[in-house]
């Protein structure tokens, strides 16, 4: 399993993920965004739940090593779009996708892409935290385990590294064998983030990862996002405008299943090109 051996012992735990005051929070500039390779390129994506047309012609590119924020009022299709990217919508019966979704130039629905591999490369943190009814350790070791990793030492390293990255290690390091269901809501959410990081994905999809967190943990998650984007591509759904403005390089505004506007976060927030975007951002609806 070459994937697991890439990280040496030294770089895995502790070094990354500790929130520090000196973390530099620099958002990418417009030219950097334009210059980044497209991690995801979605073209004219349409999505139906039965007869309900939930996404209309979404054309959006997700630049590599950047944070893309999806914003918009409840029910506008943000989660649906997110689930298209790792094909989690396949699990829902009677749904239909049209259009093209490329990951590194490869059609994720094409014959060359195996859905299991896709989901290892594109990790997901769900809107509602959903830990397995198992120990904290087993929750995080699950992804590497199903990928075939057996070495206990390696698993322990991965568990520690992921928990440190998700800013949960200090709280749980003495009770890794306790049930994950005994954690608080916010801790469970960070556990789910750690679990998604454990498979070492390229892309991290986060559906409101901070909705159940207190301000301190929220800031930790945001710091985490800043650090992760050096190595990962992140797509985050959020209802919190300040959060989108703080952490994202690119912002996409969805409204009733349409992508109204997408661009450099600074632009979208200070100088939106569409009236709906301005109304939403300034809180006039949604």
């Amino acid at each position: 399993m070459s994937r697991w051996s890439e990280n040496t012992v030294e770089d895995s735990p502790v070094a990354v993920g500790r929130p520090t005051a000196s973390t530099e929070k620099i958002l990418r500039s417009a030219s950097e965004l334009a210059g980044s390779p497209k991690k995801f390129a979605t073209t004219n994506v349409n999505f139906w739940y039965g007869t309900h047309h939930a996404l209309h012609d979404i054309t959006l590119h997700v630049p590599e090593n950047c944070v893309t924020a999806l914003i918009g009022p409840s029910g506008c299709g943000k989660s649906t779009y997110l689930r298209c990217l790792n094909r989690m919508n396949d699990m829902i019966e009677q749904t239909r996708v049209e259009g093209q979704i490329l990951l590194d130039g490869l059609d994720i629905r094409g014959p060359k892409v195996d859905v299991v591999d896709l989901r290892k490369r594109v990790g997901m943190v769900f809107q509602k935290s959903n830990p397995f009814p198992k120990s904290i350790f087993e929750n995080i070791a699950y992804g590497p385990r199903v990928a075939g990793l057996k070495s206990r030492d390696r698993l322990e390293q991965i568990v520690e590294r992921s928990l440190v990255q998700a800013a949960l290690w200090d709280e749980v390091k003495d009770r890794l064998n306790d049930s994950a269901l005994a954690l608080s809501g916010g801790q469970q959410q960070r556990l789910c983030i750690a679990r998604a990081l454990a498979t070492d994905p390229d892309v991290l999809l986060m559906d409101e990862p901070a909705s159940a967190l207190d301000p301190t943990s929220t800031l930790r998650i945001e710091d985490l996002i800043f650090e992760l984007k050096e190595n990962y591509t992140i797509v985050i759904v959020t209802h919190n405008m300040q959060q989108a403005a703080r952490v994202s390089d690119q912002t996409a505004f969805f409204y009733e299943g349409h992508l109204i506007e997408a661009g450099v976060t600074n632009e979208v927030f200070t100088n939106p090109s569409k009236q709906e975007t301005e109304d939403y951002i300034t809180g006039r609806f949604g």
């Binding site: 989690m88 769900f126 009814p133 199903v146 269901l181």
Partner: protein
């Protein structure tokens, strides 16, 4: 009297009547409960009373005999243990497998709904019907004779719908978010089912299995219908041996012309009850033990 006062009095009377009704209803429920418990207690006490003299090691150890004083339940007890052992062996993999297919694999379709409806109906079919089916298929067509194998297969038919329905119920109680979390981490359907869904559903499945086994242990009708013999002179040692079972012994002894045998039947009932209650306690324990870990 003003209108308001009249209205208030009416309301007060109404409230009083409601309180009275509610008390009355409570009393009726209490009576129902007491009579249930009383009937049960009466049955238990009379069985204990009648069978008490026969209880003892001789009852367990002895072979059947023409005299009630010397007769024991050894061959029947062993026959019953063989039966429930084999029935569990057949019914659990089949039943849990069917439930897994229906819940985790089969897509919603008309075909699935028809199968589902039929399973629910089969659970309600009287067990004697399965006995006749067993007689036709296992005893005659497959030519297994009145062997333990034929008996266990017949009982498998009886309990299979119970195992399937209980397992389905348990699988359905596992939240979809667990499956989604597993798939999102790159697990296959097989891994998701085997490592997450099945362990989470285990307490429920085990409870269903143990209830099904208790049912198999207590059934006499299907065994009578498939022609299980009343008298065997030694305990069975292989699946091809003819057999008899505890409920059959009870059935025949209770109809015996000599009244001593009725007391013997009561003693056998006590043994059967002890085994049944132990099984149910195991079920409760499993529920409690594993249920603690799995709470959503």
């Amino acid at each position: 009297m003003t209108n308001l006062a009249a209205e208030q009095e009416l309301m007060a009377r109404y409230r009083q009547r409601k309180r009275l009704l509610s008390k009355l209803f409570g009393a009726v429920c209490l009576m129902a409960m007491i009579s249930c418990v009383a009937i049960l207690a009466f049955l238990l006490i009379s069985v204990l009373w009648r069978g008490f003299d026969y209880l003892g090691w001789d009852l367990i150890r002895n072979l059947p005999s023409r005299s009630a004083a010397k007769a024991g339940i050894w061959v029947y007890l062993i026959g019953s243990l063989w039966l429930i052992g084999l029935t569990t062996l057949f019914a659990v993999p089949l039943g849990v497998g069917a439930a897994l297919y229906l819940e985790e694999y089969a897509a919603e379709s008309r075909w699935k709904r028809i199968v589902q409806l039929n399973i629910a109906n089969l659970a309600g079919v009287p067990s004697i019907v399965y006995g006749l089916l067993g007689l036709g298929i296992f005893v005659y067509i497959l030519n297994l004779g009145q062997s333990i194998l034929a008996g266990a297969l017949t009982l498998t038919l009886v309990v299979l719908p119970i195992v399937i329905l209980a397992s389905q119920e348990a699988l359905r109680a596992v939240p979809g978010s667990i499956r989604q979390a597993s798939y999102a981490l790159g697990a296959t359907r097989w891994q998701t089912t085997w490592r997450q869904v099945l362990p989470a559903a285990m307490p429920g499945i085990m409870t269903g299995v143990i209830l099904a086994v208790s049912r198999a242990l207590g059934e006499a009708a299907p065994l009578v219908a498939m022609g299980a013999v009343q008298y065997v002179d030694r305990a069975p040692t292989s699946v091809w041996d003819t057999f008899s079972a505890l409920p059959l012994a009870i059935f025949y002894w209770a109809m015996h012309s000599k009244p001593e045998f009725h007391d013997l039947a009561a003693a056998a009932i006590i043994v059967l009850l002890v085994v049944l209650i132990s099984l149910n306690m195991v079920a409760a324990f499993v529920r409690y033990r594993f249920g603690k870990k799995v709470r959503w």
